[in-house]
Symmetry: C2
Subunit: 127 residues, 2 copies
Protein backbone atom coordinates (compact mmCIF):
# COMPACT_ATOMS: atom_id res chain seq x y z
CA UNK A 1 0.00 0.00 0.00
CA UNK A 2 1.34 3.43 -0.91
CA UNK A 3 1.38 6.37 1.44
CA UNK A 4 -1.70 8.04 -0.09
CA UNK A 5 -3.84 5.01 0.73
CA UNK A 6 -2.55 4.77 4.29
CA UNK A 7 -3.14 8.48 4.70
CA UNK A 8 -6.69 8.12 3.42
CA UNK A 9 -7.50 5.02 5.48
CA UNK A 10 -6.07 6.33 8.74
CA UNK A 11 -6.85 10.01 8.32
CA UNK A 12 -3.26 10.78 9.29
CA UNK A 13 -1.30 13.30 7.25
CA UNK A 14 1.41 11.73 5.09
CA UNK A 15 4.03 14.02 6.59
CA UNK A 16 3.01 12.74 9.99
CA UNK A 17 3.23 9.13 8.80
CA UNK A 18 6.80 9.70 7.62
CA UNK A 19 7.51 11.47 10.91
CA UNK A 20 6.18 8.46 12.84
CA UNK A 21 8.37 6.17 10.78
CA UNK A 22 11.44 8.27 11.57
CA UNK A 23 10.45 8.15 15.25
CA UNK A 24 10.49 4.35 15.10
CA UNK A 25 6.73 3.88 15.45
CA UNK A 26 6.24 2.21 12.07
CA UNK A 27 8.81 -0.46 11.46
CA UNK A 28 7.69 -2.75 8.72
CA UNK A 29 7.76 -0.21 5.95
CA UNK A 30 9.13 -1.68 2.75
CA UNK A 31 10.40 0.10 -0.34
CA UNK A 32 9.61 -0.67 -3.92
CA UNK A 33 12.15 -0.45 -6.71
CA UNK A 34 11.27 3.18 -7.27
CA UNK A 35 11.99 4.01 -3.61
CA UNK A 36 8.29 4.51 -2.87
CA UNK A 37 7.20 3.27 0.56
CA UNK A 38 5.15 0.07 0.60
CA UNK A 39 3.09 -0.40 3.75
CA UNK A 40 1.69 -3.76 4.84
CA UNK A 41 -2.03 -4.11 5.62
CA UNK A 42 -1.19 -4.19 9.35
CA UNK A 43 0.10 -0.62 9.18
CA UNK A 44 -3.49 0.67 9.26
CA UNK A 45 -4.10 -1.00 12.61
CA UNK A 46 -0.74 0.06 13.94
CA UNK A 47 -1.29 3.70 13.08
CA UNK A 48 -4.73 3.51 14.73
CA UNK A 49 -3.11 2.15 17.88
CA UNK A 50 -0.54 4.93 17.88
CA UNK A 51 -3.31 7.51 17.58
CA UNK A 52 -5.33 5.96 20.37
CA UNK A 53 -2.40 5.87 22.76
CA UNK A 54 -1.48 9.39 21.72
CA UNK A 55 -5.01 10.59 22.45
CA UNK A 56 -4.60 9.15 25.93
CA UNK A 57 -1.53 11.26 26.51
CA UNK A 58 1.28 8.82 25.83
CA UNK A 59 4.31 10.46 24.27
CA UNK A 60 5.60 9.02 20.99
CA UNK A 61 8.56 7.67 22.91
CA UNK A 62 6.32 5.78 25.34
CA UNK A 63 4.18 4.49 22.50
CA UNK A 64 7.27 3.15 20.81
CA UNK A 65 8.32 1.35 23.97
CA UNK A 66 4.91 -0.25 24.35
CA UNK A 67 4.64 -1.24 20.70
CA UNK A 68 8.16 -2.66 20.76
CA UNK A 69 7.25 -4.78 23.77
CA UNK A 70 4.04 -5.91 22.07
CA UNK A 71 6.05 -7.05 19.08
CA UNK A 72 8.52 -8.58 21.50
CA UNK A 73 10.93 -10.04 19.07
CA UNK A 74 13.67 -7.55 19.84
CA UNK A 75 12.91 -7.35 23.52
CA UNK A 76 13.17 -9.97 26.19
CA UNK A 77 9.91 -11.43 27.53
CA UNK A 78 10.68 -10.64 31.13
CA UNK A 79 11.68 -7.10 30.31
CA UNK A 80 8.52 -6.77 28.26
CA UNK A 81 6.39 -8.09 31.10
CA UNK A 82 7.99 -5.63 33.51
CA UNK A 83 7.43 -2.76 31.11
CA UNK A 84 3.79 -3.76 30.66
CA UNK A 85 3.32 -3.98 34.41
CA UNK A 86 4.83 -0.52 34.84
CA UNK A 87 2.71 1.02 32.14
CA UNK A 88 -0.39 -0.70 33.49
CA UNK A 89 0.30 0.60 37.00
CA UNK A 90 0.71 4.10 35.60
CA UNK A 91 -2.49 3.74 33.61
CA UNK A 92 -4.42 2.43 36.61
CA UNK A 93 -3.20 5.35 38.70
CA UNK A 94 -4.29 7.69 35.94
CA UNK A 95 -7.73 6.09 35.92
CA UNK A 96 -8.05 6.76 39.66
CA UNK A 97 -7.06 10.40 39.13
CA UNK A 98 -9.48 10.77 36.25
CA UNK A 99 -12.24 9.39 38.43
CA UNK A 100 -11.52 12.01 41.07
CA UNK A 101 -11.67 14.71 38.40
CA UNK A 102 -14.91 13.28 37.02
CA UNK A 103 -16.44 13.35 40.51
CA UNK A 104 -15.26 16.93 41.03
CA UNK A 105 -16.69 18.04 37.69
CA UNK A 106 -19.95 16.25 38.48
CA UNK A 107 -20.25 18.04 41.81
CA UNK A 108 -19.48 21.40 40.23
CA UNK A 109 -21.92 20.79 37.43
CA UNK A 110 -24.67 20.02 39.93
CA UNK A 111 -23.86 23.06 42.02
CA UNK A 112 -23.93 25.35 38.98
CA UNK A 113 -27.19 23.83 37.80
CA UNK A 114 -28.75 24.40 41.20
CA UNK A 115 -27.51 27.97 41.28
CA UNK A 116 -28.90 28.51 37.81
CA UNK A 117 -32.28 27.07 38.77
CA UNK A 118 -32.47 29.04 42.02
CA UNK A 119 -31.57 32.30 40.37
CA UNK A 120 -33.52 31.89 37.17
CA UNK A 121 -36.05 34.58 38.13
CA UNK A 122 -33.86 36.64 40.39
CA UNK A 123 -31.41 37.96 37.83
CA UNK A 124 -27.78 37.10 37.40
CA UNK A 125 -25.86 34.27 38.97
CA UNK A 126 -23.19 35.43 41.33
CA UNK A 127 -23.59 33.21 44.38
Amino acid sequence: MQIAELEQRTGVNRHTLRYYEKAGLLQEVGRRGNNYRDYPEKAVERVAMVRQLKALGFSLREIREVLDALRSDSIDCEQGAVLMAEKKAAVDEKIREWKRVSALLGREQKRLEESAAALRQQGHCNR
Copy 2:
Protein backbone atom coordinates in the same frame (compact mmCIF):
# COMPACT_ATOMS: atom_id res chain seq x y z
CA MET B 1 3.46 35.58 49.69
CA GLN B 2 6.31 36.31 47.31
CA ILE B 3 7.14 34.24 44.28
CA ALA B 4 10.03 32.39 45.94
CA GLU B 5 7.72 30.99 48.61
CA LEU B 6 5.09 29.92 46.10
CA GLU B 7 7.82 28.34 44.02
CA GLN B 8 9.13 26.48 47.06
CA ARG B 9 5.71 25.38 48.31
CA THR B 10 4.41 24.18 44.94
CA GLY B 11 7.65 22.96 43.45
CA VAL B 12 6.84 24.92 40.31
CA ASN B 13 9.55 27.04 38.71
CA ARG B 14 9.01 30.79 39.14
CA HIS B 15 9.26 31.33 35.39
CA THR B 16 6.48 28.82 34.98
CA LEU B 17 4.36 30.58 37.63
CA ARG B 18 4.69 33.87 35.74
CA TYR B 19 3.92 32.02 32.53
CA TYR B 20 0.75 30.57 34.09
CA GLU B 21 -0.26 34.03 35.23
CA LYS B 22 0.16 35.39 31.71
CA ALA B 23 -1.91 32.47 30.43
CA GLY B 24 -4.74 33.50 32.75
CA LEU B 25 -4.45 30.55 35.12
CA LEU B 26 -3.57 32.60 38.20
CA GLN B 27 -5.83 35.55 38.54
CA GLU B 28 -5.68 36.91 42.06
CA VAL B 29 -2.08 37.99 41.97
CA GLY B 30 -1.59 41.33 43.73
CA ARG B 31 1.34 43.70 43.56
CA ARG B 32 3.11 45.43 46.40
CA GLY B 33 4.34 48.98 46.22
CA ASN B 34 7.66 47.80 44.85
CA ASN B 35 5.94 45.94 42.00
CA TYR B 36 6.74 42.54 43.52
CA ARG B 37 3.98 39.96 43.10
CA ASP B 38 1.98 39.15 46.22
CA TYR B 39 0.18 35.78 46.08
CA PRO B 40 -2.75 34.91 48.34
CA GLU B 41 -2.63 31.70 50.38
CA LYS B 42 -5.12 30.11 47.94
CA ALA B 43 -2.59 30.33 45.14
CA VAL B 44 -0.83 27.23 46.49
CA GLU B 45 -3.98 25.16 46.07
CA ARG B 46 -4.74 26.68 42.71
CA VAL B 47 -1.30 25.88 41.33
CA ALA B 48 -1.66 22.33 42.63
CA MET B 49 -4.98 22.01 40.81
CA VAL B 50 -3.42 23.30 37.59
CA ARG B 51 -0.65 20.74 37.88
CA GLN B 52 -3.05 17.89 38.56
CA LEU B 53 -5.22 18.72 35.56
CA LYS B 54 -2.10 19.19 33.47
CA ALA B 55 -0.80 15.77 34.50
CA LEU B 56 -4.08 14.34 33.26
CA GLY B 57 -3.52 15.84 29.84
CA PHE B 58 -5.64 18.98 29.96
CA SER B 59 -4.16 21.84 27.97
CA LEU B 60 -3.59 25.11 29.79
CA ARG B 61 -6.48 26.57 27.81
CA GLU B 62 -8.85 23.86 29.01
CA ILE B 63 -7.63 24.24 32.56
CA ARG B 64 -8.35 27.94 32.41
CA GLU B 65 -11.87 27.27 31.16
CA VAL B 66 -12.55 24.83 33.96
CA LEU B 67 -11.04 27.04 36.66
CA ASP B 68 -12.97 30.03 35.34
CA ALA B 69 -16.19 28.06 35.54
CA LEU B 70 -15.30 26.88 39.05
CA ARG B 71 -14.80 30.48 40.12
CA SER B 72 -18.02 31.29 38.22
CA ASP B 73 -18.21 34.95 38.93
CA SER B 74 -17.39 35.99 35.41
CA ILE B 75 -19.30 33.17 33.78
CA ASP B 76 -22.98 32.42 33.78
CA CYS B 77 -24.13 29.47 35.92
CA GLU B 78 -25.87 27.71 33.08
CA GLN B 79 -22.89 28.12 30.79
CA GLY B 80 -20.70 26.85 33.59
CA ALA B 81 -22.93 23.83 34.14
CA VAL B 82 -22.88 23.04 30.43
CA LEU B 83 -19.10 23.35 30.33
CA MET B 84 -18.75 21.07 33.36
CA ALA B 85 -21.09 18.53 31.77
CA GLU B 86 -19.05 18.61 28.57
CA LYS B 87 -15.75 18.22 30.37
CA LYS B 88 -17.16 15.45 32.53
CA ALA B 89 -18.45 13.57 29.48
CA ALA B 90 -15.01 13.89 27.88
CA VAL B 91 -13.35 12.70 31.08
CA ASP B 92 -15.72 9.74 31.42
CA GLU B 93 -15.02 8.74 27.84
CA LYS B 94 -11.32 9.00 28.56
CA ILE B 95 -11.75 6.74 31.59
CA ARG B 96 -13.40 4.10 29.39
CA GLU B 97 -10.51 4.32 26.91
CA TRP B 98 -7.95 4.09 29.68
CA LYS B 99 -9.69 1.00 31.00
CA ARG B 100 -9.43 -0.63 27.60
CA VAL B 101 -5.72 0.18 27.51
CA SER B 102 -5.26 -1.14 31.03
CA ALA B 103 -6.94 -4.41 30.06
CA LEU B 104 -4.78 -4.68 26.94
CA LEU B 105 -1.60 -4.05 28.91
CA GLY B 106 -2.71 -6.57 31.52
CA ARG B 107 -3.26 -9.24 28.88
CA GLU B 108 0.09 -8.51 27.24
CA GLN B 109 1.87 -8.56 30.57
CA LYS B 110 0.39 -11.96 31.35
CA ARG B 111 1.28 -13.32 27.93
CA LEU B 112 4.87 -12.11 28.23
CA GLU B 113 5.17 -13.55 31.74
CA GLU B 114 3.93 -16.90 30.52
CA SER B 115 6.33 -16.86 27.60
CA ALA B 116 9.15 -15.97 29.95
CA ALA B 117 8.24 -18.81 32.33
CA ALA B 118 7.83 -21.36 29.57
CA LEU B 119 11.10 -20.47 27.94
CA ARG B 120 13.17 -19.95 31.04
CA GLN B 121 15.22 -23.08 30.42
CA GLN B 122 14.94 -23.23 26.68
CA GLY B 123 16.91 -20.14 25.77
CA HIS B 124 15.67 -16.92 24.35
CA CYS B 125 12.11 -15.67 24.10
CA ASN B 126 10.89 -15.38 20.57
CA ARG B 127 7.41 -16.88 20.68
